[in-house]
């Protein structure tokens, strides 16, 4: 059937709604934790994740509950090992007017609070100055800080991108930087590039690697050996950067949520 006919006739595909519930899990030491069990339409396998938001068990729409619970029980030791790390992260005070430093490009830089006519964050003397009207809330400070991080991320991209673009068959159609929940970046079928805002908090080399990684998908839309050869050809110490993101990445994402979540 011609594609235009299929487009006119085909019924629209609707994604099923995400359903979730909380369950209690007893850990080997006898303590009990709450687990969020959620079915997700895009999930392809059963997955456990632990973050500052708690323990989450994600399963595909049609996966068996019994299999999911068995998987959860089989990984109780691992969950018990991860939890103290995230409990420590939860003890950090939320971002507000008492905060003295913020992370940027792998370092903690000083934060200066000012009174201003409108909310804004700007680079100031090796640190950041956030100006707020007396009546503005912490939400305004977070929004201003998010705008600052976005500008810094775009500045980094603007500096790196022209060096790499001539080596690729085409440029991305758009570049969007925003907080992503689990990915560091993605390249859509229409060549739209998305990057995680948390990258600007970490080492610049890791951010540059993710940019190059996604650009290399313009050549190979997979992670085959030929793809990694493309990454390596661009002088990226990709293994070190990948290890860094693997070790520190969850912490970076959690920091970003703490700093800019509304």
């Amino acid at each position: 059937m011609p594609s235009f006919l299929r487009r006119l006739i085909a019924p629209t595909r609707t994604l099923p709604v995400v359903s979730s519930e909380t369950i209690a899990l007893r850990l080997p030491d006898g303590s009990e934790v709450t687990v969020l069990r959620a079915r997700h339409p895009r999930a392809r396998r059963i997955k456990i994740s632990v973050s500052e938001r708690g323990v989450r068990l994600t399963l595909p729409m049609r996966a068996s509950l019994r299999a999911a619970d068995a998987f959860l029980h089989a990984h109780r030791d691992w969950i018990a090992m991860q939890l103290p790390r995230w409990n420590a992260a939860n003890e950090v005070a939320p971002f507000g007017r008492d905060s003295k430093t913020i992370p940027l490009r792998g370092e903690d830089i000083p934060l200066l609070w000012e009174t201003g006519r409108y909310a804004r964050a700007r680079a100031h003397d090796g640190g950041v100055a956030i100006a707020l009207p007396a009546s503005a809330s912490d939400v305004s400070a977070r929004r201003a800080l998010k705008e600052f991080y976005l500008a810094e991320a775009r500045a980094d991209i603007g500096r790196w991108l022209p060096n790499y673009l001539p080596g690729f068959p085409r440029a991305p159609t758009s570049i969007r930087v925003r907080p992503l929940s689990s990915l560091w970046g993605s390249l859509s079928a229409r060549d739209a590039l998305s990057l995680d805002l948390a990258l600007v908090l970490g080492k610049p080399a890791a951010f540059e690697y993710v940019l190059v990684h996604e650009l290399c998908h313009l050549v190979h839309r997979n992670h085959a050996r030929a793809f990694w050869r493309e990454v390596e050809a661009r002088g990226q110490d990709w293994r070190a950067q990948r290890d860094y993101l693997h070790d520190e990445g969850a912490g970076l994402k959690s920091s970003l949520r703490r700093l800019v979540a509304p």
Binding site: L5, R117, Y118, A134, P162
Partner: protein, 308 residues
Amino acid sequence: MFFRNLTLFRFPASLDLSHLETHLADCALKPAGPLEMSSRGFVSPFGRALRQAQDDREVLSHRVGQCIWLTIGGEERLLPSVVVNDAAGKKIAEAEQREGRKLGGRARKRIKDEIVIDLLPRAFVRPLRTDAYLDLEHGFIAVDTSSRKQAENVVSEVRRALGSFPALPLNAETSPRGVLTGWIAGEAMPDGVILGDECELKDAADRGAIVKCQRQELQGEEIGKHLESGKQATRLALMLDDHVSFVLGEDLVVRKLKFLDGAVDQLESTERESVHAELDARFALMSGELKRLFGMLEKAFKLSRAEA
């Protein structure tokens, strides 16, 4: 012919576009066939009237110095799905009555196919046209639309014609919201730029309050109160040198672009003998204003360059 919106992209100024006209001719618009839903291609920027008046080969671009004017044309058949479903429903009902049984999914689909094939050649054809301006000196392309998707489609057409066209959306190395809010709050504006009388302010929280003002004094107390409560400007009306007025968004899309008397007066002072000469003069004037506008945006928002 004056552009009313600008969605901007940057490309390397060193890009060689000397054979552009040949490439465009290969991708000229072909009328949509009787069973085609749509077609896209390049058409003459001077429009249909002038194209018919000229006997020689159609010109698909117009160049004044380092500035090029292109037009993407298109034809789209209008066949609403509600019409197809209605006609198919009637035919299916007739068939069910005739055969005394309910038709299966495959038979229903076949009937719908037949209806579409029957209706498509009779469907209205809607012509489309989008202009684009390429500045080879500063390396930017401005598409006359405020829709990002439509602008990307135009850039894709140029890419298809040239084989390679590394155009990137504008990348501001500063916060556009912060800059626009600062201008309302009284911070220094670029030379020649003054505030208009329209703005949109958004609360810091996601899904927070939105205030849209028109015909409003922007440096008054009312707007000041909104800024003090933490709102930020996401759209702002501006005027450049009394020549152009526009509304600039935080997405750096220029909307409601108007060429004011200060610029258009220059056109009215001279008489031209043909439509072609008139359009040529208008394009020359517009390209000068767009250059200045882009220069201002580049400086104020620290726009990244597309080449090292």
